[in-house]
Symmetry: C2
DNA sequence: ATTATCTATAGATCTATAGATAATGC
DNA sequence: ATTATCTATAGATCTATAGATAATGC
């Protein structure tokens, strides 16, 4: 029926030596990224050798250099793939003046958590690496700064933002705490990886709004305190999948260059 | 006046080769720990070589092995020194049934943040290392688990704990979020290291209580929302220095083995 | 011819040990 | 004699490059 993904060894180039890996069907570049994601998050960046990555991806160490200039380029690409979808979403949310800022902020938090924890590997762990200061990572850092600014703009537009109107430092601190909670969400996830991701992401987004200082309104509304989540009740009946379908880490079956509607 | 710390080269053993380091006066073991703290937090554990640590401490690479069996032992000792004071404080707080649990929880959070961010190096960054799974680190992990349990017990004893009485999973999730915020506080600190630590620690503790779901009581009391911190107002007129004077990372001038009253 | 891979390896580490050495202490 | 350090180095990596090789494409 479907266009037979049946692979006879029809590929150009010298065949691989040991066929240890079960031939996932993904292009080698992607396979390298996945291997790197797994190893970097599990064993750490510096502790992962190019040989480990390459061999995990089913090829010999030297072959990796056919696709990437080095280890740092792998890291850069992984990191960028982790911010990019959130950044895109944040732009859409900033433009969407119709919905309350608190709801949009919640949405951004939730989606961000899904991105950082949702994939097969918890790419969020990469945010904790000291290597983030590295040279090749400027692009990533700029994107991340823009994302932080988006958080800040949304926070500023909420009720708490009004209260802190004069207090720039206070607002920044609040925002950094919110942003830090989201980026550090890995630590929470690590301590109990068994929880279903979707519910976890919502709980984390709730917590982020509480850090911001934004759960009072709802609780005044329905009297529920703490037992049930808050901001979720505020949200519109929006389906939980964020637009643009952010691929969780680029390691799922879908090809990386999926079209954006 | 004081007991002259005047050092003529009165030390036993072969003298050091290059006297690059200005001879801090601390014993070499401590000096190694400080060097390790600085390098591990700044450049990462795996990326730091034994040579770098030793030379930073003013001695040759091989000499390090006279004091530590290897790199992992340095890490273990640093990590343990970071939990130990919090753990001790948590035991005292658990015993202190007189004060409200929320206040005690706040106190624990604040002190923990000071420990993780207060010293000259931000040891909290070590908590983010993937190497935490390492073999030699069992002792540290046990201590940390006990600390998490203390958080949980305190949280359980608050108003929120009552609300979540039946919901064990819910309580755990809350607690992990609180604990995660505190342990990940490094990420917040990193984004603006200029803020005064003391105020920052209080703001982080406030945020932790909000994550827990615990700022409503105060706000009902004084009507102040978000602008001014909450739990601080609840606290008794307790001086801000926690008992036992947790040394921030063991790298301050005081000798490491200071007596505990 | 082009492509994807391989093998081989130079050069640069890095860790941990062996054994020498230069102080003080007795 | 004891101690703290040093120098030297074996053995094990690890990265990145050079150059060969085995496919397909034309």
């Amino acid at each position: 029926m479907s266009g037979g993904t049946d692979e006879g060894p029809r590929r150009v180039g010298r065949p691989r030596a040991d066929q240890l890996r079960p031939e996932s069907g993904r292009p080698p570049r992607e396979e390298l990224l996945c291997a790197a994601a797994e190893l970097f998050t599990l064993k750490g960046y510096a502790a992962t050798t190019t040989r480990a990555v390459a061999e995990r991806a089913g090829m010999r160490q030297a072959t990796m250099y056919h696709y990437f200039a080095g280890k740092e380029e792998l890291l850069a690409e992984l990191l960028e793939s982790t911010v990019a979808p959130s950044l895109a979403l944040s732009r859409r949310l900033l433009a969407d003046a119709a919905r309350p800022a608190a709801v949009r902020l919640w949405e951004l938090c939730r989606s961000d958590v899904l991105l950082l924890c949702g994939g097969p590997y918890h790419l969020g762990a990469l945010y904790l690496l000291p290597e983030l200061q590295g040279a090749r990572l400027g692009q990533f850092r700029r994107m991340r700064d823009e994302l932080r600014e988006a958080y800040r703009t949304l926070l500023r537009a909420t009720a708490v933002g009004d209260e802190l109107a004069g207090d720039k430092a206070g607002l920044s601190l609040r925002n950094d705490l919110v942003f830090g909670l989201i980026e550090g969400v890995m630590l929470v996830r690590r301590s109990d990886p068994g929880r279903p991701v979707a519910a976890f992401a919502e709980a984390a987004a709730d917590a982020a709004l509480r850090v911001a200082g934004l759960d009072r309104a709802d609780e005044r509304a329905d009297g529920q305190v703490g037992g049930r989540v808050s901001a979720r009740a505020v949200g519109p009946g929006r389906p939980p999948s964020p637009p643009g379908r952010p691929r969780p880490g680029g390691c799922d079956p879908t090809p990386a260059g999926a079209p954006r509607p």
